[in-house]
């Protein structure tokens, strides 16, 4: 730790406290000759400063002053030196505050939910700032109490995990920057300009790239979707697929009956079905199970987006890696606090978690790139 004497001298000159000058020089001389007491180095911000001064610094200074000057310093002079040391201490605090870590308030929607908890842990391990955490679910609070919490904590930035905390915080806080993650389909929420984040869904580009890496021979992938919810997404997927030599055959569904009918049409045309989180397609549990059952009967492999579908027959799950989301959010927070410009308000998640069902791959007779097993997190046999 370096002591900024210029800063202290500046403080002294500004306050025109001439009496301090001489003892200040004495203190500086002592420090130069014998070094600062270890205790000062170890706990410069100790709240027990008066105690340390009385019981540690006073005898220390008196002792060393006597060694250096050969004279016993007057008590009043020693006291003045202590005042100077106190000023140094204040200056140290001041200097540390200016370069100190920023503080962050983490608002977790529900820490008992595994994905939120994992994101928080990864975030806390990576972020440089000091974190205060608050779990909305276990401390059931209303808007007023939350506003009070934010005002009392005075964080430099708020990191929200999950939709509920993100929506609530964005409603209450318009000035401080907010970073959000684990928010389903963030585009549907009218976030203000102070909100940044990491999206919760992998882009079509990532999913197609990974699917192609695992199954290089696939050329046609079918998608059931509703125009109402996923028109833009399907356009993006079609364009990304075209770039990689994959044809995305999409079928628009208007209601539940359409799902079965269009599935039958798609089954004849495509090498695999990509089941996306579309509210119309995945309207009910039964409907989802029917899709999986029909595809299994016709040996049509399914690519899914969530690990939960691995156990009901999806051949491959290409899901988002939650710890990476936490680490990305930490990086975003550090950048914002350092004042780095953000080219995009929401980052795409870049970590993937891949599950492969080798049992179904063999059952359907699919050509699978065995060398891609290196990126697989879980194998079902």
């Amino acid at each position: 730790m370096n002591i900024n004497f210029d800063r202290i001298r500046y403080l002294v000159s500004v306050q025109k406290w001439q009496k301090v000058k001489r003892p200040f020089l004495a203190a500086r001389q002592i420090i130069a000759q014998v070094g600062m007491p270890n205790l000062l180095f170890r706990c410069p911000l100790s709240p027990n400063w008066p105690f340390l001064a009385r019981h540690y610094l006073l005898p220390w200074l008196t002792h060393h002053a006597k060694i250096l000057t050969g004279k016993r310093l007057k008590h009043s002079r020693v006291c003045r030196i202590i005042v100077v040391f106190s000023m140094m201490h204040v200056a140290l605090i001041f200097a540390q505050n200016t370069s100190s870590e920023s503080s962050i308030l983490i608002l977790n929607t529900d820490k008992s939910v595994a994905k939120y908890s994992i994101a928080q842990t990864a975030f806390e391990r990576s972020v440089k700032a000091t974190c205060t955490t608050f779990d909305l679910e276990s401390n059931w609070v209303g808007e007023v109490a939350l506003k009070e919490l934010i005002d009392n904590t005075e964080p430099d930035l708020i990191y929200c995990i999950g939709s509920r905390s993100s929506i609530l915080a964005s409603r209450l806080e318009n000035n401080r920057p907010l970073v959000v993650s684990s928010v389903l389909n963030w585009q549907r929420i009218p976030f203000a300009g102070n909100v940044y984040g990491v999206a919760n869904e992998l882009t079509p580009k990532t999913q197609i790239t990974m699917a192609l890496y695992l199954f290089p021979k696939m050329t046609k992938i079918g998608v059931l979707y509703s125009k109402k919810y996923n028109e833009e997404w399907i356009q993006l997927a079609t364009s990304e697929g075209r770039d990689r030599g994959i044809e995305i055959v999409s079928c628009d569904v208007l209601n539940s009956r359409d799902v079965s009918r269009n599935l039958k049409i798609l089954q004849k045309k495509v090498d695999a079905l990509w089941v996306i989180p579309d509210p119309m397609v995945m309207a009910s549990r039964d409907q989802v199970l029917t899709i999986y059952k029909n595809c299994d009967l016709s040996k049509l492999p399914i690519f899914a987006h969530d690990p939960v579908y691995a156990d009901i027959g999806a051949v491959t799950v290409i899901a988002v890696d939650i710890p990476t989301i936490g680490r990305q959010a930490a990086g975003l927070v550090d950048d914002i606090l350092q004042g780095k410009p953000q080219p995009q308000r929401f980052q795409n998640p870049v970590g993937t978690k891949i599950i492969v069902n080798l049992k179904n791959i063999e059952k359907y007779g699919l050509k699978f790139n065995e060398k891609a097993l290196g990126i697989v997190t879980r194998v079902i046999k």
Partner: protein, 299 residues
Amino acid sequence: MIVCNSSILNTFRSEVFAVSLRWLTLVLLLLLVVSSGFADDLTPAVGTSFLTFYSPETNINNYGLLKGEFDSYFAGRGNFEFQPFSDSSNFDTFVKKKMNCALMIYSRYYQRIGEKIDIKSFLVGTRGRKSTQKLVLCAENSIQSISMLKGERVAIVASREYTTKLLIEILGQQQISLIESLEFLVVPNEIDALMAVGFGVVRGALTSDYNLANLAEISPKDHKLLNRLATSNDILLPLIAARIPNNANTEKLINIIEDMGNNLEGRRRLNMMNLDRFQKLSDADMQILARSTSRGTDQ
């Protein structure tokens, strides 16, 4: 009176019995506690040879998968167990304690562990018929030189500490301030790291030349966005080493590992570690190993 005496006797007997029972329980408990101290040595079947694995070079997030898969492969082939480690100190302690184990480690770690115990390398992993790989530091096209990467975020798959050491080796000591200025984003695999550059989340990525070539095949557009800034020397893929003198069971384990690349089930397990097979070290491999150990990079 007799009844009374016998009842006293019975009470006395039952008390003696209760006391002895208590003592017996205590002795049994003590035995249990004492024996649990040796549990580590006793739990595996006698004569079990371990294939221990530690890799600071990769962000392994599938230890459970690897353990299950390798154990099931070894199950029908003898008394062997796969033991992966995420922490170097636990790995070191385990390896020091067990004589009957083979080690799956990268060449950099081979030197470090070799300073503590006597080990010998037997096999080296191969991928695409090559036993070496190069690490490549690449960045988005707008970054034309290393100096332009200062203070930027780079996607990596290894630990931060390990990556820093690796970058010092690739870029040289003169770039140490630049390396220290870098921010890192740890991602699950190298394809993710390379694609993160395309998404603008990071400005650079440190990956193997093998996965850079893979990206060129599966996403040529993303590959075109990348610019190679620096490349490492040849680095050996994981080695299979064993403590010397090794016992017959460990030798058998090494033979089984060597044979893994010859059957589908074995090859699949190796593919999970981004390898095709293990083979004996050639003279060229030995030279690379000697070079990397003489450089003295640890961990």
